[in-house]
Amino acid sequence: MSGISELDQITRATSGDRAAQAALVNRNMPIVFRVAYRMLQDRAEAEDVTQETFLRAWKALPDWQPKAKFSTWACTVALNLCRDRLRKKKPVLMDELPERIDTALRPEEALSSQQALQGIEAKIAALPERQREALSLCALEGMTNIEAAATMAVSVRALESLLARARRALRAGLSAELTGER
């Protein structure tokens, strides 16, 4: 299926072509699941969101307009579903919490510790929601800044700011952990 365009694949999937449907799922399900998992930190919930995203996709495909990549559209849907779930879980918005100040000392040395790196998932999970979304899409899923900004419905500059803050917070978190172990 690698020789056909995404639009062809979507057209075939819409008309009931099982191979095209399988290819669309195989290509896009992993990224949708990972994005959902990073937001929800729960495998079962991430699977629910992934399934719901594709259910919506099957309904939306007959009227599909190739304005964006399918993965961008799917991640947008998945992020919205995740936000709904997070909102129901905790009324306090994480983005309203004060950002931790970067007090890192010798960050290169700190980050070289394998022990500290093992906790990277927890550090990502502790980021404010929007920073986590930006980091997930750009740094971890390899979306371009334009794709990630479109997925999150923010400007490219806003996305860049979220990314910089996320990386700064991660550096601070990893450094603090190492400092505490000494």
Partner: protein
């Protein structure tokens, strides 16, 4: 080398936001940033090393795989036949022309055109409304051109 200029501050911003790997930087700024770093490496070595360390840390992220049943469940809900279009025209067309709208529409258009041409030809050559109107006005009075269909 590139003709596009980029400032030291902007390159540092790119590193801070997107990490040390130029492939992750915005495409439009990538070439000038790489060129500027190559020209003045000392300005960026510390920022790059710091960003590279974090990039390495992020590459160690582990996420569990989804269960094998997830893909099957998604595919089980996939459409099995032709899509149902949401447009009203398509829905009505499908009811009227279940075999497709192309030929019936063409035939209907041809019939309409034949009717219009035939009607016009008959009206131009046969006894027209003018004679009937003349007879009416002769019998009941009034002037030709008056809107006699409208009372009051």
């Amino acid at each position: 080398m590139t003709d596009v200029k980029i400032s030291t501050e902007r390159v540092l911003e790119l590193i801070a936001a997107f990490g040390a790997e130029p492939g992750a930087w915005p495409e439009a700024e990538r070439a000038p940033a790489v060129a500027w770093i190559a020209e003045s490496p000392n300005l960026f070595s510390a920022a790059l090393a710091e960003a590279r360390a974090l990039d390495n840390a992020l590459s160690l992220e582990h996420i569990p795989e989804p269960g094998p049943a997830l893909g099957d469940a998604i595919l089980a809900a996939a459409p099995s036949g032709a899509p149902v279009s949401k447009s009203l025209f398509a829905g009505v067309s499908a009811m009227i022309f279940p075999q497709g709208v192309r030929w019936p529409a063409g035939a209907a258009f041809a019939s309409l055109m034949m009717g219009l041409v035939g009607g016009y030809a008959y009206a131009a050559t046969g006894p027209g409304y003018d004679q009937a109107e003349l007879a009416y006005y002769a019998a009941f009075g009034g002037e030709i051109g008056e809107d006699w269909m409208v009372s009051e």
